[in-house]
Amino acid sequence: MKLPEHIEKQVAETMASLDGTSRAAANPFLYTRIKAAMEAEESGFWSKTASFMTRPIVAVATVLVILLMNSLIFINNQDSHSNSNMASQDEDQLLSREYSVASINEETLYTLNEEQP
C-alpha cells in the first residue's frame, strides 16, 4: 500500500533529524564526582556490612544459630560425659585394684614390720 506523500516526507525528515548533531558535553565536574563515588564505595563496605548485620532478621537468625550450636555442643558433651563416666569407673576399678595390691603389700609390710620386734 502506498503511503500518503506527506507522511512519507515526515518520516524521511524525522529519520534525517539527527544529521549534523553535535556531541553533548559532560558535566565539567565529572572527575570530582567519580572520585567521590569511588571513595564512597571504599568506605561504604564496612557501613554496608554493619547495616546488614544489624537488620532484625539477620540478628535474630544469628542468635538462633548460636543457640542451636550451643545446644548441640551441650548435648554432645553430655553423651561424651556419660561415656567418660563409664570409662572413668573402669579406670577407678583398675586403679583401686592396683592400689589394693599396693595396700596389701603395704599392709603386709607393716604387719611384717610389726611382727618383727
Binding site: 524525522t14 548533531t21 558535553a25 563515588a37
Partner: protein
Amino acid sequence: MSDQELIKQLKEGNESAFKTIVEKWQDMVFNTCMGLVQDANDAEDVAQEVFIQVYESVEQFKGESKFSTWLYRIAVTKSLDHLRKKKRKKRFAFLQSLFGVNEEEVIQDPEFHHPGVKLENKEQAAVLFKAISKLPDNQKAAFTLHKLEGLSYQEVAEALSTTVSSVESLMHRARGNLRKILTDYYQKNNG
C-alpha cells in the same frame, strides 16, 4: 601524552593519568550513554560507572583494540544494563500499582531532547529518539553509535565485538523498524 603512555601510567595507579583519561573521553562516553539511556542525569550516572569500571579493570585492557573502542564497549554495556534495570523497576512499580501496594502513579518517560540536535530538528529528533527506544538492544546500540557518535560500520563492529556484515544487517533492520514505528506514529497523529 599518547594513549598508550596514559594507559601504562593508569595501570601503575597514577591518579593524574586517570584524571587526564576522564577529561579526554568524558564527552564521548557521556554522549554515547545519553543517546542510549535518553536522560541527562542517568547518562551522567552511567558515565561515572563506565570510568570506575575503566579504573578497576584497566589491567584487562591488552591494547589489542583502540582504547576508545574499549570505552565504547563498556559504555554500551553499562547503558543497556541500566535500561534493563529501569525497565524491570518500572514493571515492578506497575504491578504494585495494579495491586494497590504502591499508590504512586507510574510516570511515563518525558520527551527526550538531545542538547546537540539542531534547533530546527528538535521536535522531529524527539520523535525519532522515542522510536529508537523501542528498538531491540543491538539495533539501538548500532544505530546510536553510527548516528550520534558518527562511527563507521567498521568501528561500530569493533565496539560491539561483531562483524561489519552484522552491523550492516543491524542497521538495515533498525532503519526498517524505525520507518515502521514512525509511519504508525504519523498516521495516528495526522488523523
